[in-house]
Symmetry: C2
Amino acid sequence: MSVKWKKHEKGSLSVVGLGPGGKEWMSEPAVHAVEKAHAVCGYKTYINLIQELIRPDQEIVQTGMTKEKDRCEKAIALALSGKDVALVCSGDPGIYALSGLVYELLKKQGITSKELTVKVIPGIPALSACAALLGAPLIHDFAVISLSDLLTPWHSIEKRIEAAATSDFVIVLYNPRSKKRRDHLPKAFNVIAKHRKGQTPVGIVNKAMRKGQEVHITTLDEVRESGPDTFNVGMQSLVIIGNSKSFIWDGKIITPRGYEV
Amino acid sequence: MSVKWKKHEKGSLSVVGLGPGGKEWMSEPAVHAVEKAHAVCGYKTYINLIQELIRPDQEIVQTGMTKEKDRCEKAIALALSGKDVALVCSGDPGIYALSGLVYELLKKQGITSKELTVKVIPGIPALSACAALLGAPLIHDFAVISLSDLLTPWHSIEKRIEAAATSDFVIVLYNPRSKKRRDHLPKAFNVIAKHRKGQTPVGIVNKAMRKGQEVHITTLDEVRESGPDTFNVGMQSLVIIGNSKSFIWDGKIITPRGYEV
């Protein structure tokens, strides 16, 4: 899509974090941004999650999953036309989400904050929601890595996994698996297993705080042997691998901070 | 403090994330957990932030800053005595916060989920709040490192900074500076500067979403030359260093995800 930008000074664009599930996980500023919006833009699944907030008089721009650029361009165009626009993202809009793309598009078009008010409203990221369900895996230093090689070459991803594994970061894997990327997660586990013991805790959460939520607690050995299918790893999953001191207790993964207990 | 655990089956313990500021940043489950609590435990500053939620009939257990273990032990003891307890943490309770210590103490005492219901309620972490204020620095892989060597030896911290810097992670530094640790942040910048150009964007946020909030956007060269004092880096600050592709535009730090814009 090619949008002709009409510059107008009265609209605004809020890039809104919905948190992990429905409306109950949103902050007040996030709810307010959606409520006051003339137009709400977002991926269908996310708009469905906050259906109770949407009013009949609001313009809804729903786009499919890989249409991120399209979605951002439409949101910017609507805001420039004078509307208050909420561009909604699951989790936090600043973690592998759309706040960056919005700013990149504004830069390309030379639209500064003088011409359009843009606000990023943070949300509870998937990593926090999944950590809470797993116990306390992120209590010490952690590295967050996306396994999607749509936008990043695999060798860079692998280099980061290796660096995180060798320096004992807890590792959070976003986008661990899609229909087209079946082998990235097993490859990532293989890299990590070179530097961490087989009993290292692994947590897998599917659809955190949503219908169909699953929480699996396993180990590096077990998940490498049985494979990601056993745990239904898919597009709405997050995988967390403990550090050398993480342990499993009473069905939870706990990473010590170092206090004398 | 040495607590004699009285085992009781009716209390509950919620470890609650307040998000970055006051009540407006809390999720509904977080607000609900505080409202239904017979007792609210937490560091004074955090309890003050949600003063409007506290009722006269609630027991308040406020402890000082380094009394984390004390705070958790009291919260557990109150819950075991039959009370519903909310142990409140700023940001997310699972990131350098108290959910881990709670589980460690429960393990030590052999108190399982059969005897006490423990729930972690995630919150918007400081890293999300600060990223939102800075623009979009965390759009690609990032590493989160605490510079506090109270509980971790400095050589481990330095190793992690080095690993994150060499493999081009965006770097988030928690606890960048205290009165006793004046030199850690300059040391960290020196390590990063070996692997990243001087024009790399650096974002410093003090007191995100709180009274006295400051947002500074600078570069690695500039912050190394002028020093952390110029930017009032302290206990309530977070520092984010961009990766090799991050840039500053219109007063924001943007890390590209890789979309063709």
